[in-house]
C-alpha cells in the first residue's frame, strides 16, 4: 500500500462518508489522507502495493461465506444443551509459509473470524501460528484446512 493509494482511498472514503463527492470535498479528503500519511510515514515505506483485484474479491467472498458459516456454527453450538460434549478445544501450532507482516496479519485475522478457530499468536521466529480450535477432531486435518484454504489465497493476493 503506497502513499498515493492511501491518499486516494481516504479521499474517496471521505467523500463517501460525508455524502458529497464534490471536487472540494474530495480535495479535502485528499488533504486528510496526506495528513494521515504524514503521521504514518514510517510504516508506509516498506509496503508493497496490492494487486490483483480479482483475487482480493475472491478472498473476500470466501471470507464472508466462511464468516457467516462460522457465526452460525458458534451460534448452534452455544444453544445446544449438551454443550460440554460438543466442545473439544485444542491449541495447535500451524506452520506458516507466508513471511511478510501483512500476510501473517491478514491470515491471522481471517483465521480468527472463520469457523472454530482463533489465532492466539505468532511464534517469535514467525514460523508458526498458534491457533485455538473450538472443536478439533483431527489435528492434521485442521492444519491442512488452514494451509490450503486461507494461506494459499493470501499468498495469491500478495504475490
Amino acid at each position: 500500500m503506497n502513499t498515493a493509494l492511501l491518499v486516494l482511498i481516504l479521499a474517496l472514503l471521505w467523500a463517501g462518508t460525508t455524502g458529497s463527492f464534490s471536487g472540494l470535498n474530495l480535495l479535502f479528503g485528499g488533504l486528510l489522507g496526506l495528513a494521515a500519511a504524514f503521521l504514518l510515514r514510517d510504516s508506509l515505506s516498506s509496503r508493497r502495493g496490492l494487486r490483483r483485484m480479482g483475487r482480493i474479491i475472491r478472498l473476500l467472498g470466501l471470507f464472508l461465506y466462511e464468516l457467516m458459516a462460522s457465526a452460525v456454527r458458534v451460534a448452534l453450538v452455544v444453544i445446544r444443551p449438551d454443550l460440554k460434549a460438543v466442545v473439544r478445544p485444542a491449541i495447535v501450532a500451524v506452520p506458516l509459509s507466508v513471511t511478510s507482516d501483512a500476510e501473517i496479519t491478514l491470515l491471522a485475522n481471517l483465521i480468527t473470524l472463520t469457523p472454530g478457530t482463533l489465532s492466539i499468536d505468532v511464534s517469535p521466529d514467525r514460523k508458526h501460528l498458534y491457533v485455538h480450535a473450538l472443536t478439533m477432531d483431527d489435528r492434521e486435518a485442521l492444519i491442512a484446512d488452514i494451509v490450503n484454504g486461507f494461506e494459499k489465497q493470501v499468498k495469491a493476493v500478495f504475490e
Binding site: G33, L40, A102, I104, T105, V122
Partner: protein, 142 residues
Amino acid sequence: MNTVIFRTLAPVIVATMLVFSVYVCLRGHNEPGGGFIGGLIGAASIGVLGMAWGAEAAKRALKIDPMVLAGCGVVLAGASGLLSVFIGAPFMTSIWLYLDLGETVLPISTPLFFDLGVYLVVFGTLSAIALALEGDDGEETP
C-alpha cells in the same frame, strides 16, 4: 502489545480513526458530533498508535508537541471569538462567510474555527496525556 499483527494493523486503524475524528468534528454543527468528540477519537487513535508502536515512535510520528497543539486550539477558539470586535458586536458573536466556489457554496464561520479549536485542544491534550503515561517507565517504586 508489541505483536506483528497489531503493529501491522495499527496504521490502518489509526488512519480510519483520524479521518473519522475529523469527520465527526466538522459535521457537529448540524448533526451529533463536534470538536470534543472528534478530538477524543483523534486522541484515541494516538493512544492506539502509542500502544502498538510505543510512545517514542508515536511522538516521532506526531512531530509537534501535542500540548502545543492544545495551546493553538485555545488560541484559535479565543481568536475566533475576538473577531467580532471588527463588526462591532460582543465577544463570540458568530460571523458567517459564504465562499461561492461555483460548484458549491462553502460556508466559513467563526463557530467552525471555534469547533476546530476545541478539536485541537482535546486532541492535543489527551494525546499528550496518553503519550506521557505511555512513556512513563511505569514500574512502580518498590
